[in-house]
Amino acid sequence: MPSRGLPYLLLLPATVFLAVFFLYPFTQIAWEAFSGPGGVTLSHFATMVNYWKFPAALENTLLLAVAVVPLQTAMALAMAVLVSKLEKGRDLILYIFTIPLGISDLAAGLIWFAIFQQTGFLNSALHALGVVHTPVIWLGYQSKWVIFLAVMLAEIWRATAIMLVIIVAGMGLIPKEYGEAAEVFGAGPWQRFRRVTLPLLRPSLQTALILRTILAFEVFAEVAALGGTNLPVLMGETFHWQFDLQDGHTAAAFAIVILAISIGFTLLYLRLLRVPKGAGI
Protein backbone atom coordinates (compact mmCIF):
# COMPACT_ATOMS: atom_id res chain seq x y z
CA MET A 1 0.00 0.00 0.00
CA PRO A 2 1.84 3.15 -1.15
CA SER A 3 1.63 5.86 1.45
CA ARG A 4 1.69 9.59 0.80
CA GLY A 5 5.27 9.74 1.98
CA LEU A 6 6.51 7.18 -0.55
CA PRO A 7 7.21 9.60 -3.42
CA TYR A 8 9.30 11.75 -1.11
CA LEU A 9 11.10 8.73 0.20
CA LEU A 10 11.93 7.67 -3.35
CA LEU A 11 13.17 11.17 -4.18
CA LEU A 12 15.34 11.29 -1.10
CA PRO A 13 18.51 9.61 -2.49
CA ALA A 14 18.64 11.92 -5.50
CA THR A 15 17.97 14.94 -3.32
CA VAL A 16 20.70 13.99 -0.85
CA PHE A 17 23.08 13.28 -3.71
CA LEU A 18 22.49 16.68 -5.28
CA ALA A 19 22.70 18.44 -1.95
CA VAL A 20 25.99 16.81 -1.05
CA PHE A 21 27.69 16.93 -4.41
CA PHE A 22 26.22 20.09 -5.85
CA LEU A 23 24.75 22.40 -3.25
CA TYR A 24 27.60 21.94 -0.79
CA PRO A 25 30.45 22.67 -3.26
CA PHE A 26 28.37 25.49 -4.70
CA THR A 27 28.00 27.25 -1.36
CA GLN A 28 31.65 26.62 -0.71
CA ILE A 29 32.62 28.28 -4.01
CA ALA A 30 30.29 31.19 -3.32
CA TRP A 31 31.83 31.57 0.11
CA GLU A 32 35.34 31.42 -1.41
CA ALA A 33 34.43 34.14 -3.88
CA PHE A 34 33.04 36.52 -1.30
CA SER A 35 35.15 35.86 1.77
CA GLY A 36 38.45 37.35 2.80
CA PRO A 37 40.52 37.58 5.98
CA GLY A 38 38.25 40.36 7.23
CA GLY A 39 34.93 38.69 6.44
CA VAL A 40 32.75 39.35 3.38
CA THR A 41 34.58 41.19 0.62
CA LEU A 42 34.41 42.01 -3.06
CA SER A 43 38.18 42.22 -3.35
CA HIS A 44 38.44 38.94 -5.30
CA PHE A 45 36.08 40.31 -7.88
CA ALA A 46 38.21 43.46 -8.01
CA THR A 47 41.29 41.31 -8.58
CA MET A 48 39.46 39.46 -11.33
CA VAL A 49 38.21 42.58 -13.09
CA ASN A 50 41.57 44.25 -12.90
CA TYR A 51 43.35 41.23 -14.28
CA TRP A 52 44.56 42.28 -17.74
CA LYS A 53 43.10 39.23 -19.51
CA PHE A 54 39.64 39.52 -17.93
CA PRO A 55 38.05 41.85 -20.53
CA ALA A 56 39.35 39.68 -23.39
CA ALA A 57 38.19 36.49 -21.66
CA LEU A 58 34.72 37.89 -21.09
CA GLU A 59 34.51 39.25 -24.62
CA ASN A 60 35.76 36.03 -26.23
CA THR A 61 33.39 33.87 -24.21
CA LEU A 62 30.38 35.98 -25.07
CA LEU A 63 31.39 36.36 -28.73
CA LEU A 64 31.88 32.62 -29.07
CA ALA A 65 28.45 31.92 -27.60
CA VAL A 66 26.84 34.56 -29.79
CA ALA A 67 28.57 33.21 -32.89
CA VAL A 68 28.07 29.53 -32.19
CA VAL A 69 24.64 29.12 -30.60
CA PRO A 70 22.46 30.82 -33.28
CA LEU A 71 24.31 28.96 -36.02
CA GLN A 72 23.84 25.69 -34.18
CA THR A 73 20.17 26.44 -33.62
CA ALA A 74 19.59 27.17 -37.29
CA MET A 75 21.53 24.09 -38.35
CA ALA A 76 19.81 21.85 -35.82
CA LEU A 77 16.39 23.10 -36.98
CA ALA A 78 17.24 22.57 -40.63
CA MET A 79 18.61 19.09 -39.95
CA ALA A 80 15.61 18.22 -37.78
CA VAL A 81 13.18 19.22 -40.54
CA LEU A 82 15.10 17.07 -43.01
CA VAL A 83 15.33 14.12 -40.65
CA SER A 84 11.66 14.20 -39.66
CA LYS A 85 10.62 14.26 -43.34
CA LEU A 86 12.34 10.92 -43.89
CA GLU A 87 10.27 7.79 -43.97
CA LYS A 88 13.11 5.32 -44.09
CA GLY A 89 16.57 5.37 -42.58
CA ARG A 90 15.64 8.13 -40.16
CA ASP A 91 17.18 6.45 -37.13
CA LEU A 92 20.37 5.57 -38.97
CA ILE A 93 20.89 9.18 -40.02
CA LEU A 94 20.17 10.38 -36.50
CA TYR A 95 22.79 7.98 -35.14
CA ILE A 96 25.35 9.26 -37.61
CA PHE A 97 24.51 12.88 -36.85
CA THR A 98 24.95 12.25 -33.15
CA ILE A 99 28.35 10.51 -33.30
CA PRO A 100 30.26 13.68 -32.31
CA LEU A 101 28.22 13.75 -29.10
CA GLY A 102 30.16 10.73 -27.92
CA ILE A 103 33.46 12.58 -28.19
CA SER A 104 34.79 14.62 -25.31
CA ASP A 105 35.41 18.30 -25.90
CA LEU A 106 39.14 17.85 -25.42
CA ALA A 107 39.21 15.07 -28.02
CA ALA A 108 37.21 17.29 -30.36
CA GLY A 109 39.73 20.08 -29.81
CA LEU A 110 42.59 17.72 -30.55
CA ILE A 111 40.95 16.45 -33.74
CA TRP A 112 40.60 19.98 -35.05
CA PHE A 113 44.09 20.78 -33.79
CA ALA A 114 45.36 17.92 -35.93
CA ILE A 115 43.72 19.59 -38.89
CA PHE A 116 44.90 23.14 -38.26
CA GLN A 117 48.37 22.71 -36.76
CA GLN A 118 51.49 23.49 -38.76
CA THR A 119 52.03 19.90 -39.88
CA GLY A 120 48.31 19.17 -39.94
CA PHE A 121 45.88 17.93 -42.54
CA LEU A 122 44.89 21.37 -43.79
CA ASN A 123 48.47 22.36 -44.64
CA SER A 124 49.15 18.95 -46.19
CA ALA A 125 46.07 19.25 -48.35
CA LEU A 126 46.84 22.81 -49.39
CA HIS A 127 50.42 21.84 -50.14
CA ALA A 128 49.36 18.84 -52.18
CA LEU A 129 47.04 21.09 -54.17
CA GLY A 130 49.89 23.51 -54.72
CA VAL A 131 48.13 26.37 -52.95
CA VAL A 132 50.91 26.87 -50.39
CA HIS A 133 54.60 26.03 -50.56
CA THR A 134 55.47 26.31 -46.89
CA PRO A 135 53.12 25.37 -44.05
CA VAL A 136 50.98 28.22 -42.77
CA ILE A 137 50.86 28.84 -39.04
CA TRP A 138 47.07 28.92 -38.67
CA LEU A 139 46.79 28.91 -34.93
CA GLY A 140 49.50 31.47 -34.10
CA TYR A 141 48.95 34.35 -31.72
CA GLN A 142 48.97 36.78 -34.68
CA SER A 143 45.83 35.30 -36.18
CA LYS A 144 43.37 35.17 -33.33
CA TRP A 145 40.38 35.11 -35.64
CA VAL A 146 41.58 31.83 -37.13
CA ILE A 147 41.74 30.34 -33.64
CA PHE A 148 38.28 31.77 -33.03
CA LEU A 149 36.97 30.22 -36.24
CA ALA A 150 38.62 26.90 -35.44
CA VAL A 151 36.98 26.83 -32.01
CA MET A 152 33.65 27.74 -33.61
CA LEU A 153 34.03 24.88 -36.08
CA ALA A 154 34.97 22.43 -33.36
CA GLU A 155 32.02 23.51 -31.19
CA ILE A 156 29.54 23.35 -34.05
CA TRP A 157 30.87 20.01 -35.18
CA ARG A 158 30.74 18.54 -31.70
CA ALA A 159 27.70 19.99 -30.03
CA THR A 160 25.03 20.72 -32.66
CA ALA A 161 23.72 17.19 -32.37
CA ILE A 162 22.48 17.66 -28.81
CA MET A 163 20.19 20.42 -30.05
CA LEU A 164 19.19 18.26 -33.00
CA VAL A 165 18.19 15.37 -30.76
CA ILE A 166 16.05 17.59 -28.53
CA ILE A 167 14.41 19.33 -31.50
CA VAL A 168 13.70 16.09 -33.38
CA ALA A 169 12.01 14.75 -30.25
CA GLY A 170 10.03 17.99 -29.97
CA MET A 171 8.93 17.82 -33.60
CA GLY A 172 7.72 14.28 -33.01
CA LEU A 173 5.31 15.66 -30.40
CA ILE A 174 3.59 18.00 -32.84
CA PRO A 175 0.51 16.28 -34.31
CA LYS A 176 0.60 16.03 -38.09
CA GLU A 177 -2.86 17.58 -38.35
CA TYR A 178 -1.57 21.06 -37.50
CA GLY A 179 0.73 21.06 -40.50
CA GLU A 180 -2.06 19.73 -42.69
CA ALA A 181 -4.51 22.35 -41.45
CA ALA A 182 -1.97 25.07 -42.19
CA GLU A 183 -1.46 23.59 -45.64
CA VAL A 184 -5.18 23.53 -46.40
CA PHE A 185 -5.60 27.08 -45.13
CA GLY A 186 -3.01 28.43 -47.50
CA ALA A 187 0.40 28.18 -45.85
CA GLY A 188 3.37 27.26 -48.01
CA PRO A 189 6.29 25.22 -46.65
CA TRP A 190 8.15 28.22 -45.18
CA GLN A 191 4.99 29.68 -43.62
CA ARG A 192 4.11 26.30 -42.14
CA PHE A 193 7.54 26.14 -40.54
CA ARG A 194 7.51 29.75 -39.41
CA ARG A 195 3.90 30.01 -38.22
CA VAL A 196 3.13 26.50 -36.98
CA THR A 197 6.19 24.30 -36.41
CA LEU A 198 8.44 26.91 -34.83
CA PRO A 199 5.91 28.27 -32.31
CA LEU A 200 4.82 24.76 -31.33
CA LEU A 201 8.47 23.86 -30.88
CA ARG A 202 9.01 26.54 -28.23
CA PRO A 203 9.33 24.16 -25.25
CA SER A 204 11.95 21.99 -26.96
CA LEU A 205 13.72 25.02 -28.38
CA GLN A 206 13.86 26.48 -24.92
CA THR A 207 15.45 23.36 -23.47
CA ALA A 208 17.91 23.04 -26.33
CA LEU A 209 18.93 26.71 -26.16
CA ILE A 210 19.37 26.77 -22.40
CA LEU A 211 21.45 23.62 -22.44
CA ARG A 212 23.56 24.71 -25.38
CA THR A 213 24.11 28.28 -24.20
CA ILE A 214 25.19 27.23 -20.72
CA LEU A 215 27.65 24.78 -22.24
CA ALA A 216 28.87 27.47 -24.63
CA PHE A 217 29.77 29.72 -21.69
CA GLU A 218 31.72 26.83 -20.22
CA VAL A 219 33.81 26.35 -23.36
CA PHE A 220 37.30 25.34 -22.29
CA ALA A 221 39.00 22.21 -23.64
CA GLU A 222 38.64 23.07 -27.33
CA VAL A 223 40.02 26.51 -26.70
CA ALA A 224 42.90 25.04 -24.72
CA ALA A 225 43.71 22.54 -27.47
CA LEU A 226 43.40 24.95 -30.37
CA GLY A 227 44.56 28.25 -28.92
CA GLY A 228 46.48 27.50 -25.77
CA THR A 229 46.47 30.83 -23.97
CA ASN A 230 46.16 32.87 -27.15
CA LEU A 231 42.37 32.99 -26.90
CA PRO A 232 41.50 33.62 -23.25
CA VAL A 233 38.02 32.53 -22.16
CA LEU A 234 36.38 32.69 -18.72
CA MET A 235 36.61 28.97 -18.01
CA GLY A 236 40.26 28.87 -19.03
CA GLU A 237 41.01 31.74 -16.71
CA THR A 238 39.19 30.03 -13.86
CA PHE A 239 41.43 27.04 -14.39
CA HIS A 240 44.50 29.31 -14.65
CA TRP A 241 43.78 31.08 -11.35
CA GLN A 242 42.89 27.90 -9.52
CA PHE A 243 45.82 25.71 -10.56
CA ASP A 244 48.56 27.91 -12.01
CA LEU A 245 48.20 30.90 -9.69
CA GLN A 246 46.86 28.84 -6.76
CA ASP A 247 44.31 31.55 -5.97
CA GLY A 248 41.06 29.77 -5.21
CA HIS A 249 39.27 32.98 -4.26
CA THR A 250 39.69 34.68 -7.62
CA ALA A 251 39.00 31.41 -9.45
CA ALA A 252 35.74 31.20 -7.50
CA ALA A 253 34.92 34.76 -8.55
CA PHE A 254 35.35 33.73 -12.20
CA ALA A 255 33.09 30.73 -11.60
CA ILE A 256 30.44 32.98 -10.06
CA VAL A 257 30.56 35.26 -13.12
CA ILE A 258 30.03 32.29 -15.45
CA LEU A 259 27.15 31.13 -13.27
CA ALA A 260 25.59 34.61 -13.29
CA ILE A 261 25.76 34.84 -17.08
CA SER A 262 24.26 31.34 -17.40
CA ILE A 263 21.40 32.19 -15.05
CA GLY A 264 20.82 35.46 -16.88
CA PHE A 265 20.51 33.78 -20.27
CA THR A 266 18.36 30.98 -18.86
CA LEU A 267 15.90 33.53 -17.48
CA LEU A 268 15.95 35.36 -20.80
CA TYR A 269 15.08 32.17 -22.72
CA LEU A 270 12.40 31.24 -20.23
CA ARG A 271 10.84 34.63 -20.74
CA LEU A 272 11.24 34.93 -24.53
CA LEU A 273 10.05 31.42 -25.33
CA ARG A 274 7.32 31.33 -22.73
CA VAL A 275 4.20 29.44 -23.75
CA PRO A 276 1.08 31.29 -22.55
CA LYS A 277 -1.33 29.40 -20.31
CA GLY A 278 -3.57 27.13 -22.36
CA ALA A 279 -1.46 27.54 -25.49
CA GLY A 280 0.50 24.27 -25.20
CA ILE A 281 0.02 21.27 -27.45
Partner: protein, 346 residues
Protein backbone atom coordinates in the same frame (compact mmCIF):
# COMPACT_ATOMS: atom_id res chain seq x y z
CA UNK B 1 -19.80 27.38 -58.85
CA UNK B 2 -17.90 24.46 -57.47
CA UNK B 3 -18.86 21.12 -58.81
CA UNK B 4 -16.53 18.33 -57.69
CA UNK B 5 -15.83 15.55 -60.14
CA UNK B 6 -13.86 12.47 -59.16
CA UNK B 7 -12.86 10.27 -62.04
CA UNK B 8 -11.37 6.84 -61.50
CA UNK B 9 -9.49 7.84 -58.37
CA UNK B 10 -7.47 4.94 -56.97
CA UNK B 11 -5.07 4.66 -54.07
CA UNK B 12 -2.75 1.89 -53.06
CA UNK B 13 -0.56 1.75 -49.99
CA UNK B 14 2.02 -0.88 -50.88
CA UNK B 15 0.10 -4.08 -51.47
CA UNK B 16 -3.08 -2.68 -49.91
CA UNK B 17 -5.64 -1.06 -52.18
CA UNK B 18 -7.50 1.62 -50.26
CA UNK B 19 -9.52 2.88 -53.23
CA UNK B 20 -10.48 1.03 -56.39
CA UNK B 21 -11.11 3.47 -59.22
CA UNK B 22 -13.79 5.57 -57.53
CA UNK B 23 -16.13 7.85 -59.52
CA UNK B 24 -18.29 10.50 -57.88
CA UNK B 25 -19.79 13.77 -58.97
CA UNK B 26 -20.88 16.29 -56.37
CA UNK B 27 -23.07 19.06 -57.72
CA UNK B 28 -22.51 22.71 -56.87
CA UNK B 29 -23.85 23.45 -53.35
CA UNK B 30 -24.66 19.81 -52.77
CA UNK B 31 -24.05 18.15 -49.41
CA UNK B 32 -22.63 14.68 -49.95
CA UNK B 33 -21.77 12.36 -47.10
CA UNK B 34 -19.20 9.61 -47.52
CA UNK B 35 -20.43 6.90 -45.20
CA UNK B 36 -18.74 3.66 -44.26
CA UNK B 37 -17.06 1.68 -41.53
CA UNK B 38 -13.47 2.49 -40.59
CA UNK B 39 -11.00 1.36 -43.23
CA UNK B 40 -13.48 1.64 -46.11
CA UNK B 41 -11.45 4.39 -47.80
CA UNK B 42 -13.74 7.34 -47.08
CA UNK B 43 -11.13 9.43 -45.29
CA UNK B 44 -8.51 8.54 -47.90
CA UNK B 45 -10.87 9.79 -50.62
CA UNK B 46 -11.49 13.02 -48.72
CA UNK B 47 -7.76 13.56 -48.21
CA UNK B 48 -7.16 13.00 -51.91
CA UNK B 49 -9.77 15.64 -52.74
CA UNK B 50 -8.11 17.96 -50.22
CA UNK B 51 -4.67 17.26 -51.65
CA UNK B 52 -3.25 15.93 -48.40
CA UNK B 53 -2.80 12.54 -50.03
CA UNK B 54 -1.85 11.91 -53.62
CA UNK B 55 -3.94 9.49 -55.66
CA UNK B 56 -2.30 6.53 -57.37
CA UNK B 57 -4.50 7.21 -60.38
CA UNK B 58 -7.50 9.16 -61.61
CA UNK B 59 -8.51 12.80 -61.73
CA UNK B 60 -10.00 15.30 -59.30
CA UNK B 61 -11.81 18.35 -60.68
CA UNK B 62 -13.08 21.21 -58.57
CA UNK B 63 -15.10 23.99 -60.19
CA UNK B 64 -14.16 22.91 -63.68
CA UNK B 65 -10.44 22.93 -62.91
CA UNK B 66 -8.30 19.83 -62.64
CA UNK B 67 -6.63 20.01 -59.24
CA UNK B 68 -5.01 16.67 -58.54
CA UNK B 69 -1.53 18.05 -59.26
CA UNK B 70 -2.07 21.16 -57.11
CA UNK B 71 -1.10 21.57 -53.45
CA UNK B 72 -4.05 21.89 -51.01
CA UNK B 73 -3.72 25.66 -50.73
CA UNK B 74 -4.39 26.13 -54.43
CA UNK B 75 -7.55 24.05 -54.54
CA UNK B 76 -9.96 26.61 -53.12
CA UNK B 77 -11.10 24.39 -50.27
CA UNK B 78 -11.51 24.67 -46.53
CA UNK B 79 -11.46 21.71 -44.21
CA UNK B 80 -12.62 20.69 -40.76
CA UNK B 81 -10.44 18.01 -39.22
CA UNK B 82 -11.51 15.14 -37.00
CA UNK B 83 -9.36 16.34 -34.10
CA UNK B 84 -10.17 19.94 -35.02
CA UNK B 85 -6.48 20.86 -35.50
CA UNK B 86 -7.14 24.20 -33.83
CA UNK B 87 -3.64 25.70 -33.51
CA UNK B 88 -2.78 25.65 -29.80
CA UNK B 89 -0.32 28.53 -30.01
CA UNK B 90 -2.83 30.95 -31.52
CA UNK B 91 -5.87 32.58 -29.97
CA UNK B 92 -9.31 31.74 -31.29
CA UNK B 93 -9.26 35.00 -33.26
CA UNK B 94 -5.92 34.14 -34.87
CA UNK B 95 -7.07 30.61 -35.60
CA UNK B 96 -10.08 31.85 -37.51
CA UNK B 97 -7.95 34.51 -39.17
CA UNK B 98 -5.20 32.06 -40.17
CA UNK B 99 -6.36 31.37 -43.71
CA UNK B 100 -7.30 35.00 -44.26
CA UNK B 101 -3.85 36.17 -43.22
CA UNK B 102 -2.33 33.69 -45.65
CA UNK B 103 -4.34 35.42 -48.38
CA UNK B 104 -2.93 38.78 -47.23
CA UNK B 105 -6.38 40.29 -46.82
CA UNK B 106 -6.54 43.79 -45.30
CA UNK B 107 -6.84 43.76 -41.50
CA UNK B 108 -10.28 45.37 -41.55
CA UNK B 109 -11.62 42.61 -43.78
CA UNK B 110 -10.01 39.93 -41.61
CA UNK B 111 -11.57 41.38 -38.47
CA UNK B 112 -14.97 41.68 -40.16
CA UNK B 113 -14.96 38.07 -41.34
CA UNK B 114 -13.62 36.66 -38.06
CA UNK B 115 -16.26 38.51 -36.08
CA UNK B 116 -19.03 37.48 -38.44
CA UNK B 117 -18.17 33.77 -38.42
CA UNK B 118 -17.50 33.82 -34.67
CA UNK B 119 -20.97 35.23 -34.17
CA UNK B 120 -22.44 32.63 -36.51
CA UNK B 121 -20.81 29.86 -34.47
CA UNK B 122 -21.63 31.55 -31.12
CA UNK B 123 -18.00 31.85 -30.03
CA UNK B 124 -17.62 35.63 -30.15
CA UNK B 125 -16.88 35.70 -26.42
CA UNK B 126 -13.97 33.25 -26.84
CA UNK B 127 -11.91 35.16 -29.41
CA UNK B 128 -9.06 35.97 -27.01
CA UNK B 129 -8.71 32.47 -25.59
CA UNK B 130 -6.28 29.72 -26.49
CA UNK B 131 -7.47 26.30 -27.55
CA UNK B 132 -6.24 24.77 -24.27
CA UNK B 133 -8.85 26.87 -22.50
CA UNK B 134 -11.73 25.59 -24.64
CA UNK B 135 -14.00 22.57 -24.31
CA UNK B 136 -14.22 20.01 -27.10
CA UNK B 137 -17.45 21.52 -28.36
CA UNK B 138 -15.99 25.01 -28.42
CA UNK B 139 -12.90 23.79 -30.27
CA UNK B 140 -15.19 22.17 -32.78
CA UNK B 141 -16.92 25.50 -33.31
CA UNK B 142 -13.59 27.24 -33.83
CA UNK B 143 -12.62 24.64 -36.44
CA UNK B 144 -15.87 25.21 -38.33
CA UNK B 145 -15.58 28.99 -38.01
CA UNK B 146 -12.04 28.86 -39.40
CA UNK B 147 -13.33 27.01 -42.44
CA UNK B 148 -16.35 29.29 -42.94
CA UNK B 149 -14.26 32.45 -42.63
CA UNK B 150 -12.49 31.48 -45.84
CA UNK B 151 -15.85 31.79 -47.61
CA UNK B 152 -14.82 28.71 -49.57
CA UNK B 153 -16.74 27.21 -52.42
CA UNK B 154 -15.93 23.75 -51.04
CA UNK B 155 -15.81 22.56 -47.44
CA UNK B 156 -14.43 19.14 -46.61
CA UNK B 157 -15.30 17.65 -43.23
CA UNK B 158 -13.58 14.63 -41.76
CA UNK B 159 -15.74 13.13 -38.99
CA UNK B 160 -16.17 16.57 -37.44
CA UNK B 161 -18.60 15.47 -34.76
CA UNK B 162 -17.11 12.14 -33.78
CA UNK B 163 -15.20 13.49 -30.78
CA UNK B 164 -18.20 15.20 -29.20
CA UNK B 165 -20.44 13.62 -26.62
CA UNK B 166 -23.81 12.36 -27.80
CA UNK B 167 -25.92 15.32 -26.74
CA UNK B 168 -23.55 17.93 -28.14
CA UNK B 169 -23.30 15.94 -31.36
CA UNK B 170 -27.03 16.11 -31.83
CA UNK B 171 -27.04 19.84 -31.23
CA UNK B 172 -24.10 20.55 -33.53
CA UNK B 173 -25.54 18.35 -36.25
CA UNK B 174 -28.67 20.44 -36.54
CA UNK B 175 -26.68 23.66 -36.31
CA UNK B 176 -24.20 22.57 -38.96
CA UNK B 177 -26.95 21.65 -41.33
CA UNK B 178 -28.48 25.11 -41.06
CA UNK B 179 -25.20 26.97 -41.34
CA UNK B 180 -23.88 24.99 -44.26
CA UNK B 181 -27.14 25.29 -46.16
CA UNK B 182 -26.95 29.04 -45.72
CA UNK B 183 -23.29 29.32 -46.69
CA UNK B 184 -24.09 27.74 -50.07
CA UNK B 185 -20.90 25.75 -50.22
CA UNK B 186 -20.38 22.38 -51.77
CA UNK B 187 -19.76 20.04 -48.87
CA UNK B 188 -18.22 16.61 -48.64
CA UNK B 189 -18.61 15.14 -45.21
CA UNK B 190 -17.05 11.93 -43.96
CA UNK B 191 -18.67 9.94 -41.19
CA UNK B 192 -19.19 6.40 -39.95
CA UNK B 193 -22.40 7.47 -38.22
CA UNK B 194 -25.41 6.55 -40.34
CA UNK B 195 -27.80 8.78 -38.42
CA UNK B 196 -25.52 11.75 -39.05
CA UNK B 197 -25.38 10.81 -42.71
CA UNK B 198 -29.13 10.41 -43.04
CA UNK B 199 -29.88 13.68 -41.28
CA UNK B 200 -27.34 15.88 -43.05
CA UNK B 201 -26.91 14.62 -46.57
CA UNK B 202 -28.48 15.61 -49.83
CA UNK B 203 -26.86 12.46 -51.05
CA UNK B 204 -25.09 9.61 -49.26
CA UNK B 205 -22.24 7.70 -50.87
CA UNK B 206 -21.91 4.41 -49.02
CA UNK B 207 -18.39 3.02 -49.19
CA UNK B 208 -16.97 -0.41 -48.48
CA UNK B 209 -13.57 -1.90 -49.23
CA UNK B 210 -12.50 1.04 -51.38
CA UNK B 211 -15.64 1.07 -53.54
CA UNK B 212 -18.63 3.37 -53.58
CA UNK B 213 -21.52 0.89 -53.40
CA UNK B 214 -24.31 3.39 -53.80
CA UNK B 215 -24.60 7.16 -54.04
CA UNK B 216 -28.17 8.34 -53.70
CA UNK B 217 -30.56 10.37 -51.59
CA UNK B 218 -30.76 9.18 -47.98
CA UNK B 219 -34.27 7.76 -48.27
CA UNK B 220 -33.35 5.93 -51.47
CA UNK B 221 -30.25 4.44 -49.82
CA UNK B 222 -32.43 3.39 -46.91
CA UNK B 223 -35.38 2.02 -48.86
CA UNK B 224 -33.62 0.57 -51.85
CA UNK B 225 -30.11 -0.46 -50.89
CA UNK B 226 -28.11 -1.24 -54.00
CA UNK B 227 -26.15 -3.88 -52.15
CA UNK B 228 -26.58 -6.20 -49.22
CA UNK B 229 -23.84 -4.29 -47.34
CA UNK B 230 -25.78 -1.04 -47.62
CA UNK B 231 -28.90 -2.62 -46.17
CA UNK B 232 -26.92 -4.21 -43.38
CA UNK B 233 -24.93 -1.04 -42.60
CA UNK B 234 -27.74 1.49 -42.63
CA UNK B 235 -30.65 1.22 -40.26
CA UNK B 236 -30.63 0.48 -36.58
CA UNK B 237 -31.42 -2.35 -36.15
CA UNK B 238 -30.23 -3.24 -39.63
CA UNK B 239 -32.12 -5.07 -42.37
CA UNK B 240 -33.05 -8.72 -41.81
CA UNK B 241 -31.67 -11.25 -44.27
CA UNK B 242 -32.94 -14.77 -44.91
CA UNK B 243 -31.80 -17.28 -47.50
CA UNK B 244 -34.37 -18.03 -50.22
CA UNK B 245 -34.81 -21.30 -52.06
CA UNK B 246 -36.34 -21.80 -55.46
CA UNK B 247 -39.24 -24.15 -54.82
CA UNK B 248 -41.64 -25.74 -57.25
CA UNK B 249 -43.95 -22.76 -57.54
CA UNK B 250 -41.45 -19.96 -56.95
CA UNK B 251 -39.30 -18.62 -54.10
CA UNK B 252 -39.60 -20.01 -50.64
CA UNK B 253 -38.34 -18.26 -47.51
CA UNK B 254 -38.38 -20.19 -44.24
CA UNK B 255 -40.80 -22.61 -45.83
CA UNK B 256 -43.18 -19.84 -46.87
CA UNK B 257 -43.82 -19.20 -50.55
CA UNK B 258 -42.90 -15.62 -51.38
CA UNK B 259 -43.29 -13.67 -54.58
CA UNK B 260 -39.79 -12.91 -55.80
CA UNK B 261 -37.75 -11.93 -58.84
CA UNK B 262 -37.93 -13.92 -62.05
CA UNK B 263 -34.20 -14.14 -62.51
CA UNK B 264 -31.45 -15.21 -60.18
CA UNK B 265 -30.06 -18.48 -58.94
CA UNK B 266 -29.21 -18.05 -55.28
CA UNK B 267 -30.94 -15.11 -53.65
CA UNK B 268 -31.38 -13.62 -50.25
CA UNK B 269 -34.63 -12.19 -49.01
CA UNK B 270 -34.39 -8.97 -46.98
CA UNK B 271 -36.77 -6.78 -45.06
CA UNK B 272 -36.38 -3.91 -42.62
CA UNK B 273 -37.56 -4.61 -39.05
CA UNK B 274 -40.13 -1.80 -39.17
CA UNK B 275 -41.60 -3.13 -42.41
CA UNK B 276 -42.97 -6.24 -40.69
CA UNK B 277 -46.46 -6.78 -39.31
CA UNK B 278 -48.01 -9.74 -37.55
CA UNK B 279 -50.26 -11.54 -40.06
CA UNK B 280 -52.20 -14.76 -40.43
CA UNK B 281 -49.79 -15.94 -43.09
CA UNK B 282 -46.20 -14.92 -42.48
CA UNK B 283 -42.69 -16.00 -41.61
CA UNK B 284 -42.82 -18.22 -38.52
CA UNK B 285 -40.85 -16.34 -35.87
CA UNK B 286 -40.03 -17.70 -32.42
CA UNK B 287 -39.79 -14.74 -30.07
CA UNK B 288 -36.52 -14.68 -28.10
CA UNK B 289 -36.38 -11.19 -26.61
CA UNK B 290 -38.97 -8.44 -26.29
CA UNK B 291 -37.67 -4.90 -25.67
CA UNK B 292 -40.31 -2.22 -25.09
CA UNK B 293 -38.65 0.99 -26.29
CA UNK B 294 -41.52 3.38 -25.67
CA UNK B 295 -42.76 4.32 -29.13
CA UNK B 296 -42.49 0.72 -30.28
CA UNK B 297 -41.44 -2.83 -29.41
CA UNK B 298 -38.19 -4.31 -30.60
CA UNK B 299 -38.73 -8.04 -30.95
CA UNK B 300 -35.78 -10.34 -31.55
CA UNK B 301 -36.83 -13.72 -32.97
CA UNK B 302 -35.53 -16.83 -34.60
CA UNK B 303 -36.75 -17.55 -38.11
CA UNK B 304 -35.62 -20.94 -39.47
CA UNK B 305 -32.45 -20.71 -37.38
CA UNK B 306 -31.61 -17.11 -38.39
CA UNK B 307 -31.66 -14.05 -36.18
CA UNK B 308 -34.49 -11.77 -37.16
CA UNK B 309 -35.76 -8.51 -35.69
CA UNK B 310 -39.07 -6.77 -35.97
CA UNK B 311 -40.23 -3.38 -34.77
CA UNK B 312 -43.88 -3.62 -33.82
CA UNK B 313 -46.54 -1.30 -32.45
CA UNK B 314 -46.01 -0.75 -28.75
CA UNK B 315 -49.43 -2.17 -27.89
CA UNK B 316 -48.78 -5.51 -29.62
CA UNK B 317 -49.17 -8.26 -27.10
CA UNK B 318 -46.16 -10.51 -27.48
CA UNK B 319 -44.04 -12.42 -25.03
CA UNK B 320 -40.85 -14.42 -25.04
CA UNK B 321 -41.54 -17.91 -26.35
CA UNK B 322 -44.49 -16.87 -28.53
CA UNK B 323 -44.70 -17.93 -32.15
CA UNK B 324 -45.40 -14.93 -34.37
CA UNK B 325 -46.20 -14.87 -38.04
CA UNK B 326 -44.56 -11.83 -39.59
CA UNK B 327 -45.31 -10.58 -43.08
CA UNK B 328 -43.51 -7.78 -44.92
CA UNK B 329 -45.52 -4.72 -45.89
CA UNK B 330 -46.56 -4.48 -49.51
CA UNK B 331 -43.58 -3.61 -51.71
CA UNK B 332 -41.03 -3.53 -48.89
CA UNK B 333 -39.29 -6.87 -49.36
CA UNK B 334 -35.89 -6.70 -51.11
CA UNK B 335 -33.78 -9.31 -52.83
CA UNK B 336 -30.03 -9.65 -53.11
CA UNK B 337 -27.85 -11.95 -55.17
CA UNK B 338 -26.14 -14.27 -52.71
CA UNK B 339 -22.92 -14.38 -54.74
CA UNK B 340 -22.42 -10.71 -55.64
CA UNK B 341 -24.45 -9.01 -52.92
CA UNK B 342 -26.09 -6.79 -55.55
CA UNK B 343 -29.74 -5.99 -55.28
CA UNK B 344 -32.07 -7.87 -57.64
CA UNK B 345 -35.23 -6.07 -58.76
CA UNK B 346 -38.53 -7.87 -58.41
Amino acid sequence: MAEIVIKGVAKTFGAFTALHSVDLTVADREFVVLLGASGCGKTTLLRIIAGLESASGGEVWIGGRRVDHLPPRQRGIAMVFQNYAVFPHLTVFENIAFGLRMQNLPMAEITRRVERTAELMHIEQLLKRYSGQLSGGQRQRVAVARALAMEPSVILMDEPLSNLDALLRLEMRAELKGILAESQTTTIYVTHDQVEAMSLADRIAVMQGGHILQAAEPIEVYRNPAARFVGAFIGNPPMNFLPANRGAGGWEVAGLPVLGPESGEALEFAVRPEDLRPAAKGLPAHVKIVEPLGPHLLVTCDVAGHGFRAILESDTSVRTGDLLHLAPLEGRARWFDLATGHSVPV
